[in-house]
């Protein structure tokens, strides 16, 4: 097996809620991320799915060191980066880059494409000597499928898909090992989405990149990911290979999520049974006791209100080595025949 690049252990991020103007009292906390652990290996794609407020973007920010974790460890090649600062942090950051969701707000409108893509070299001049930068930027534009002649244009002269390519070129500039992509295609039109997904897959093969691919579109995540983590209210509720999650989900939330996805095939729609969840996601400032999904779960029992189910291979499946034997945080984990693949 290839090397583990990034490992996250029991990551917690609570945003304090305060009251009062002069004397600020802490009245609680938004538990955005609450005990998340996963590993990302060289050259693989880990897909993270979940609905808004599940904490997936906060995880991305923590990995990028844009937020400091409340608790837990983020190990890059075995070294904890959560406490790093200064030069040591800078050198780690070179290897972890980010591609943002919104190609309209993540590029400075007053900088040329050449300056945007070349800006990482200002911070890490050791990667490209000054005289060589224009050439490197042209190469990068070519790699992401943009005409290198466009180097002096401004972001507004490009379409959404092209802008996302610019964002990807910037992410690639320092030859990172890990790219964290937070909803990289969700702002794009369907026909352009496919182009960007293809580009990301090609770049992964070419440069041996590892992706943490955060998205809410389950069909795109399935297409690109080797492994998938499903998040709900600050926790990972189920994780496994793409086949394990999509064909043999055992957590009720995953099952509901998969069955709710509209499938572009009218005949499939008629046949499948859908699980429609009631209610909304509870507030992360006041999550339910025990299992966090229990308030919307049709399987919930008294046990679920008391005991928080750990993320582990459920006992019922532990003996069998089939595809249902993957980590799932549910007391009553079971395969549900009606939950269909996307």
């Amino acid at each position: 097996m290839s090397e583990v690049l990034l490992e996250v252990r029991d990551l917690v991020k609570h945003f304090p809620l305060t009251q009062g103007v002069l004397v600020r009292r802490r009245v609680g906390a938004v538990q955005a991320v609450d005990g998340v652990s996963f590993r990302l290996r060289e050259g693989e794609t880990l897909g993270v799915v979940g609905e808004s407020g599940c904490g997936k973007s906060t995880v991305a920010k923590l990995l990028m060191h844009l937020e400091r974790p409340t608790e837990g460890k983020i190990l890059y090649k075995g070294e904890d980066i959560a406490g790093l600062s200064g030069r040591a942090l800078k050198s780690v950051r070179r290897n972890i880059q980010m591609v943002f969701q919104d190609p309209y707000t993540s590029l400075n409108p007053r900088m040329t494409v050449g300056d945007i893509v070349g800006e990482p070299f200002d911070i890490h001049p050791e990667v490209a000597p000054k005289g060589d930068r224009r050439r490197r930027v042209r190469e990068l534009l070519d790699v992401v499928g943009l005409n290198p002649e466009y180097i002096n244009r401004y972001p507004h002269q490009f379409s959404g898909g092209q802008r996302q390519r610019i964002g990807i070129a910037r992410g690639l500039a320092l030859r990172p090992e890990v790219i964290i992509a937070d909803e990289p295609v969700s702002a794009l039109d369907v026909s352009v989405q496919a182009q960007v997904v293809n580009l990301m897959e090609r770049l992964q093969d070419e440069f041996g990149l590892a992706y943490l691919f955060i998205a809410h579109d389950l069909s795109v995540v399935r297409h690109i990911s080797d492994r998938i983590a499903v998040m709900y209210l600050g926790r990972i509720v189920e994780t496994g290979t793409d086949r394990e999650i999509y064909e043999h989900p055992t957590h009720p939330y995953t099952q509901a999520l998969l069955s709710a996805v509209p499938v572009p095939d009218p005949s499939a729609t008629r046949e499948r049974e859908r699980i429609i969840l009631t209610g909304d996601v509870p507030s992360p400032a006041d999550p339910p006791s025990g299992c966090r999904f229990r308030t919307r779960c049709w399987k919930a029992q008294e046990l679920c209100t008391r005991v928080d189910p750990p993320l582990a291979v459920p006992v019922v499946f532990a003996k069998a080595s089939g595809p249902a034997a993957h980590e799932s945080a549910c007391h009553f984990a079971a395969e549900e025949p009606s939950a269909t693949a996307v």
Binding site: S191, V192, S219, V261, P264, S267
Partner: protein
Amino acid sequence: MLLDVRDLRVEFRTREGVVRAVNGVSYSVAEGETLAVLGESGSGKSVTAQAVMGILDSPPARVTGGRVLFQGTDLLRLGEEDRRRVRGERMAMIFQDALSSLNPVLPVGYQLGEMFRVHRRASRKEARERAVELMDRVRIPAAGARAGDYPHQFSGGMRQRIMIAMALALEPELIIADEPTTALDVTVQAQVMDLLKDLQREFGMGLILITHDLGVVADVADKIAVMYAGRIVENAPVADLYKRPAHPYTRGLLDSIPRLDRKGRELRAISGLPPNLLRIPPGCPFHPRCPQVRDVCRVDPPPPLYEVTYAGRDAEAVRAAELMPDDPSALGRASACHFWKETVGE
């Protein structure tokens, strides 16, 4: 026919030139029927709907041609006063972004009640009662207690329900929903679409669903109009469109969705970009991106909507594939591609 739009044209006059947003769109919706208008950004799907509703900003927008027949009356010829009476009472619209469509400083119950106070001259008390009833109907829990809450106190899904309640208030015959679930999470999206479907069945309304999501359409629509560069490029009953697209653009859209059997392989993306509406390519507007392009596609006039038939095919096989009803004229299919036969036959 409830709504019959014929050859509608809309332009925007801008400093850079004339943006031709809608270029001869025709579609129709019957009572109880759901028409999905599918297209990417800039395809003209929302502008068409706004022209039908009569809520285009003009200037810069201008309806330059066509007719909007609502139960036989051409709405484009009505005065503003008559038009307003139709809007709200007989046709209503649901927008994508519920938060910015609601007034943030007024309680939702008051905003819902406004429909009855203005259109029905209801008293405050009566209006409030009706508002609570409506909130109940769109399945907002504890409606009576929540009528006094402000929009920001509701979740995205609940706000969209309030928008639906507002559209339903005066029991209109037609509802236009412009990307009603795009801003919502998947599980909430399913709830809202289900609600919309149920209510439509209950009231027997016509529904125009504007969306870019091929999945949502497959779930709820009876028929689909696919738009590209301000034109309808394909018309079809829902099952036919997915099984056998008759326009290369529709085929490209379906192919660019990640599918199970193509995992680990390249997605078949449509190359290039949607056209700039200031400079729509001559001939077929899709030709610069079309894999089947030939010389005739590059010259004006653009291809007309050809009627798609299954003549020449083995009728038995077609019927077995559930494509053809017993009466072939009832297919209602059309494609604006000179070579639709090749596309359908592939």
